[in-house]
C-alpha cells in the first residue's frame, strides 16, 4: 500500500493503566483540512501532540511523505502549530514573533523581512508589526500565531482548539479567515475541536473521537446522514433515541416494534450482525427535524409536554406511551394546534432514521 501524504498507523498512547489513544489510524492526503472532533478526554489532543512530538506514542507510527517522524525531535519536524492558549512571545513584537522561526533557521535578514510582510498580509495584520502581544486582542493574537506557524512553510499545520478562548462572533469571523488561508496556502491542516459546528464549517473531513478511538471518518454530510455509531449520531447534529422492544434486521434494513406496540419498518441498520433474532438493546435514532405530525393511528402516539416558540422554528417536547422524551423541530404554523397535554401521533420517513443494534 502506498502511504498517503500523512499517515497515522495504529497509534496507541497509554499513561499507566489509562489508555488515552487506542489504535488510531488515519490516512491524510496532501492539502486536506481534517478535523479531530470529540469530547474532552477523547484522545484527539493527545493524537495531535504525538504529531507535534510533545509525547512519545506507546506504539504505532506516524509517517510523513512515507518516512517515520517519530525519531525526529519536535524542533526538527518542521511542523506548524497554533495552540489553544495565547503563545506569542511576550517580549517580542509582532514582526519579531513571526520572524522568530526564520531567524532560528538562520535565514538572511532581508528574506526574513520579506517573508514577515507576506505572512502579515496573509492574516490581514499589515501595519500591526510593531505592536507588542499584550496590546493585541485575542483574535489578533491567534492570527499572529497563525502567521508565525505558517512563516516557514510547514508541510502540516496543527491547530489545537485555537478559537476556544474567543467569543462566538469573533470565532466565526476567524473560521472564515482560516478557510481562506487554507485555500490560499494549500497547507495540510489537522484541527482539533469539541465544537461540531466549527468542525462542520471548516473541514473537508472529520474524524470523530470517542474514548481514545476514532468512531468514524468522513465528510460532514456523511457523518450527519450516515452515522456509523450511536455516538456519532448523538454528537453530530441533534438527535432523539427511541428504545426498541423487538427488532428484526435483514439485508441492511430493520423492522422495529416499540414498547407501545407501534411498528416501523424499512429502517437502515448500523453495526448490525446482519443475522436475525431479537436484540433488546436496540435503539432508533430520529433527527428532530425529521419528525412530522401524523393523522390519528398513522404514527407513534405521543403526549405533548411543552411547546417552545423560537422565531424561525419552534420545538415541541413529547413523551411516548412508555415514558421516553423526544423533541421535534417544526415551523410555527405546523404546530398551531399543539399545547401541553394534547395527544397526537408523530411519524417520520424511515429512510431518514437509523436503527442501531
Amino acid at each position: 500500500m502506498t502511504p498517503a501524504f500523512l499517515s497515522i498507523r495504529s497509534l496507541r498512547q497509554t499513561y499507566g493503566s489509562v489508555v488515552a489513544v487506542d489504535d488510531v489510524s488515519l490516512e491524510i492526503p496532501e492539502g486536506e483540512f481534517l478535523t479531530f472532533l470529540g469530547p474532552s478526554g477523547s484522545g484527539k489532543s493527545t493524537t495531535l501532540y504525538a504529531l507535534a512530538g510533545f509525547n512519545e506514542p506507546t506504539s504505532g507510527d506516524i509517517l510523513l511523505r512515507g518516512g517515520s517522524i517519530l525519531a525526529t525531535p519536535s524542533h526538527k519536524r518542521n511542523i506548524g502549530m497554533v495552540f489553544q492558549r495565547y503563545t506569542l512571545f511576550p517580549h517580542l513584537n509582532v514582526r519579531e514573533n513571526v520572524g522568530f522561526p526564520l531567524r532560528v533557521r538562520g535565514r538572511p535578514e532581508r528574506e526574513v523581512a520579506r517573508r514577515v510582510d507576506t505572512m502579515l498580509a496573509l492574516v490581514r495584520l499589515d501595519g500591526y508589526g510593531d505592536r507588542m502581544p499584550g496590546h493585541l486582542s485575542g483574535g489578533q493574537q491567534q492570527r499572529v500565531a497563525l502567521a508565525r506557524a505558517l512563516a516557514y512553510d510547514p508541510p502540516v499545520l496543527l491547530m489545537d482548539e485555537p478559537l476556544s478562548a474567543l467569543d462566538k462572533k469573533l470565532r466565526e469571523e476567524i473560521q472564515i479567515e482560516i478557510r481562506r488561508i487554507h485555500r490560499e496556502t494549500g497547507v495540510t491542516i489537522l484541527y482539533v475541536t469539541h465544537d461540531q459546528e466549527e468542525a462542520l464549517r471548516l473541514s473537508d473531513r472529520i474524524a470523530v473521537f470517542n474514548r481514545g478511538r476514532i468512531e468514524q471518518v468522513g465528510s460532514g454530510r456523511d457523518l450527519y446522514h450516515n452515522p456509523a455509531t450511536r455516538f456519532v449520531a448523538s454528537f453530530i447534529g441533534d438527535s432523539n433515541f427511541l428504545d426498541a422492544a423487538e427488532v428484526r434486521a435483514e439485508g441492511g434494513r430493520g423492522r422495529v416494534v416499540f414498547p407501545d406496540g407501534t411498528t416501523v419498518a424499512d429502517l437502515p441498520v448500523h453495526r448490525s450482525t446482519e443475522g436475525d433474532g431479537t436484540l433488546p438493546a436496540a435503539q432508533v435514532m430520529v433527527r428532530p427535524q425529521s419528525l412530522r405530525l401524523a393523522g390519528a393511528g398513522e404514527g407513534l402516539p405521543v403526549r405533548v409536554l411543552d411547546v417552545t416558540f423560537l422565531g424561525d422554528t419552534s420545538t415541541v417536547q413529547f413523551r411516548t406511551a412508555w415514558g421516553q422524551e423526544i423533541w421535534m423541530r417544526a415551523g410555527a404554523d405546523d404546530i398551531a394546534a399543539l399545547s401541553p397535554d394534547v395527544t397526537c401521533d408523530v411519524s417520520w420517513n424511515p429512510a431518514e432514521s437509523h436503527l442501531f443494534l
Binding site: A52, F54, P73, S74, H75, K76, R77, N78, I79, G80, M81, F83, Q84, R85, Y86, T87, L88, F89, P90, H91, F100, P101, V104, R105, A145, R148, A149, Y152
Partner: protein, 266 residues
C-alpha cells in the same frame, strides 16, 4: 457585616495612631544614626551640638573601610550570581518537574530562610574548618549563596509559574532547540523574576553579619563585619557614618529596582 473604614469612628483614629507608631518605630533608628553621623559630638550625644563631615573624612582616610566595602560588593555580586543560577535550575525542577518528594525539596530549599542563622553559621564554620575554606572569598561566597538561595528561588518560582509552558513549546515547534527556547524565550519572559532574585540575593549578602563574622579573617572583612569590629573597639561616630553609607546604598539599590521594574513591565 463588613468592617469599612469610615464606620470605625474612634477605632479608626486608633488604627491611624498605630500605623504612625509602627512607621516611626521603623524609621527613627535610621534617621537617628544618620543624624549622629553628621553630628560633631565624639560621644554620640543627641541632639548633636553642631554639624560636621569630619567622620566621613575619617572614614575615607582609612583604607580598611573602603576595602571592606569592596569585599562586601564582591561577595554580594558573586553570591547573587551563584544564587540566581542555582535558583533558576531549582525553579525549573520545582515548577516543571513531576517527581516524588517535590514538595519536600521545595520546603528544604526554603530552610535557610527559617533556620536560626547562628546555627547555620556554626555548622558551616565547622565544615569549612575541615576543608580550609574559612577566611577565604570562596568560603564567604558559598556561605552567603546558601543564605541568599531561598530569596532567589521564591521570585523565580513565582514568575515561572506565571509563564505558560505552551509558549516555550511554541518556540520549540518553531524550530528552536529546547535549550534555545529557554534562553531566547523563557528567560527574557521571566526577566523581572530573575532581576528581583538577583537584587534580593545581593541585599541578603550585603547586610549579613552573623555568618560573615564566622567567615571573616583580619584580611577579609565585609562592611557589616568591619562595623561590628570597630564597634567593639570603641564607639566612634565613624561607625555611624559607615552605617549611614550602608543604608544609603541599600536604599539606592531598592530605588533603582523599583524604577527598572516599572520600565520592564511597560
Amino acid at each position: 457585616m463588613l468592617l469599612t473604614y469610615h464606620r470605625l469612628g474612634g477605632l479608626g483614629i486608633a488604627l491611624w495612631a498605630i500605623t504612625i507608631g509602627v512607621c516611626l518605630f521603623l524609621l527613627v533608628p535610621i534617621i537617628f544614626i544618620a543624624a549622629l553621623s553628621f553630628g560633631s559630638s565624639r560621644w554620640l550625644a543627641f541632639p548633636p551640638p553642631a554639624w560636621t563631615l569630619r567622620w566621613y573624612q575619617e572614614l575615607a582616610a582609612d583604607p580598611r573601610w573602603l576595602e571592606a566595602a569592596l569585599t562586601s560588593a564582591k561577595v554580594g555580586l558573586l553570591s547573587a550570581a551563584l544564587a540566581v543560577l542555582l535558583g533558576l535550575m531549582a525553579s525549573f525542577a520545582l515548577v516543571r518537574g513531576r517527581f516524588r518528594g517535590r514538595n519536600f525539596l521545595k520546603a528544604l530549599f526554603l530552610t535557610p530562610m527559617v533556620l536560626p542563622v547562628i546555627v547555620f553559621a556554626v555548622a558551616i564554620y565547622a565544615l569549612f574548618l575541615r576543608v580550609g575554606l574559612n577566611g577565604t572569598l570562596v568560603g564567604f561566597v558559598l556561605a552567603h549563596t546558601v543564605l541568599a538561595f531561598p530569596f532567589a528561588v521564591i521570585p523565580i518560582v513565582n514568575s515561572l509559574e506565571g509563564f505558560d509552558k505552551s509558549i516555550e513549546d511554541a518556540a520549540v515547534l518553531c524550530g528552536a532547540s529546547p535549550l534555545q527556547a529557554k534562553l531566547k524565550i523563557t528567560l527574557p519572559a521571566i526577566r523581572i523574576g530573575l532581576f528581583s532574585a538577583a537584587v534580593f540575593a545581593f541585599l541578603i549578602s550585603w547586610d549579613e553579619v552573623v555568618v560573615a563574622i564566622f567567615m571573616a579573617s583580619p584580611d577579609l572583612q565585609t562592611l557589616p563585619v568591619r562595623i561590628w569590629g570597630a564597634l567593639r573597639q570603641d564607639l566612634t561616630p565613624v561607625i555611624a557614618a559607615a552605617s549611614t553609607i550602608l543604608v544609603a546604598f541599600t536604599l539606592l539599590v531598592m530605588a533603582a529596582v523599583a524604577l527598572l521594574r516599572r520600565r520592564i513591565s511597560r
